[in-house]
Symmetry: C2
Subunit: 302 residues, 2 copies
């Protein structure tokens, strides 16, 4: 039982799964788990029972507040937390948190951010950006957040000035699992040199990437490419093309990477090939710092 120590339940509720941490008063993690019930498989009235069942398992008492970021706040989620338009200070998230009904505790969902012309949206990453701003005592520069939908963000003095999204992660998953390239890229393994070469090719001639993709299948059929190299080459073409598209974000100093370690490592390697410095961070720590910081700024607690 966590009766005596649990002070906050922090949740990152995504489309396909959620992650939950129980924090003590000082912010230390005293329990955590991952759940398979993502937003896409839940109706609005199922979020609270799913959350309560998990907290019951962990022995978290009723009344311990919960703060939630991510797709739980989408229109089709638990309850909609409307996007805040950029430019937007990340310290505004708590002030716009929306109470989520049905739980055995106060529960709030943080809003995402939206941008018009060019149109873009994020849900979840804004909380990591708050964590970054909070941990670094203010932040100026570019943040790249590799994932299914990689976000590139310009932060100025804690304000999100603008951002862009590339579907590179989803594209890689679709091409390796569903497309004709799956025959070439299937199985495990990875070839670092093939990745680097493909990144360099894509950076040099991003216009040619649509032509390069099928060559992976052809090279494999002609016996000239094994699966680890095929997989790495596809990843390199896609990430190289993304960096070429986002080059303007890289011109203002080192790029701060927030994401899964392995994927962020690939982005760092690709940025290095493009001649840009990058800094890795602890993504989970930033998520937790962001959730705690936003929670403390929710008006009913302030």
């Amino acid at each position: 039982m966590l009766t005596n120590t649990a002070a906050l339940v922090a949740v990152d509720w995504g489309t396909t799964c959620f992650r939950l941490w129980v924090l003590d008063q000082g912010g230390a993690v005293i329990a955590n788990l991952r759940g398979a019930e993502g937003m896409s498989v839940l109706s609005p009235d199922q979020f609270a029972p799913v959350l309560e069942a998990k907290l019951d398992q962990l022995g978290v008492p009723d009344g311990v507040p919960a703060v939630i970021c991510g797709m739980a706040g989408a229109a089709q989620g638990w309850v909609e937390a409307a996007y805040l338009p950029v430019p937007c200070a990340v310290t505004d998230l708590g002030a716009h948190a929306v109470p989520a009904p049905g739980a055995q505790r106060p529960a709030h969902i943080l809003p995402g951010l939206s941008q018009r012309a060019p149109d873009d949206v994020m849900r979840g990453e804004e909380t990591q950006l708050l964590g970054l701003v909070q941990s670094s005592g203010g932040f100026d520069g570019t943040v790249c957040m590799p994932g299914t939908h990689t976000k590139w963000v310009t932060l100025k003095g804690g304000v999100v000035a603008g951002f862009s999204t590339a579907m590179t992660g989803e594209m890689f998953a679709l091409l390796t699992r569903q497309s004709v390239l799956r025959h070439a890229t299937g199985g495990g393994g990875w070839d670092t040199a093939a990745f680097s070469d493909a990144v360099a090719d894509a950076l040099e001639a991003p216009v040619s990437v649509p032509e390069a993709l099928f060559s992976i299948r052809a090279s494999s059929l002609l016996g000239a490419l094994d699966a680890p190299r095929a997989r790495a080459r596809l990843s390199g073409f896609l990430i190289g093309a993304e960096i070429a598209a986002m080059r303007r974000y890289c011109l203002s100093g080192p790029v701060t990477l927030i994401g899964d370690d392995a994927l962020a490592g690939l982005y760092r390697a690709a940025l290095d090939i493009a001649g840009f410095d990058a800094v890795l961070t602890d993504a989970d720590a930033l998520t937790l710092t962001g959730l705690r910081t936003a929670n403390a700024q929710i008006p009913e607690y302030a």
Copy 2:
């Protein structure tokens, strides 16, 4: 019964389906059908029974020869018809046809073409190219063959000098059916102006296409884009990026388009926006002419 008139069975056997025509001595179509048994669902010994069952239905007697192009000749097909390396005269196809076992008739499968550095392959399109060369009395220029995997081909005096493949059709299908963009592009409808604008955007800045794709989802979420425009915009971005990649093919005069009429029409419109002329053809007629011409060149009939 077609006993008295059937002279040749012509088959285009693809990955997901096949098409079959029964021709008389003069090449006129006296029967045709489409079968759902594509190469991907057949083991090698199932091709002959599937073909014979269809010909039984149509009343085509045993002994009428069959000529087949496409994926039936892949390594995992009926019997492998090894790729001919380019440069390759399309009039060589018949000489390299491979007998297919098990049918109640002479049956031959035509080879595909392969290319090294850059690696590429085709199976089926080479027969349409033979049809084009035969119908036009020789052909010089660029052929674009829109489809799941669009081929761009340089023909010089009936010789395939080189070719490239773009997975644009497969990418569009994956993105509209499986990706997050399916929420934006679902349903019917089409907006021609949105297509044209997106083609122009992609031609002007192909490097930005990876960034543009997710904006379709964002614009839809923000209420700024209906499904017909979203669908057309996605298609325009992808086809525009393909034409930018293949621009060198377009510099030597009008592009001859061989493909499904609706899709070839989109390519013609996109090529026009890029400042290039294009000519539509009758793809089925070219397939039939190619199959008949190749069949007449098979050594055992010559």
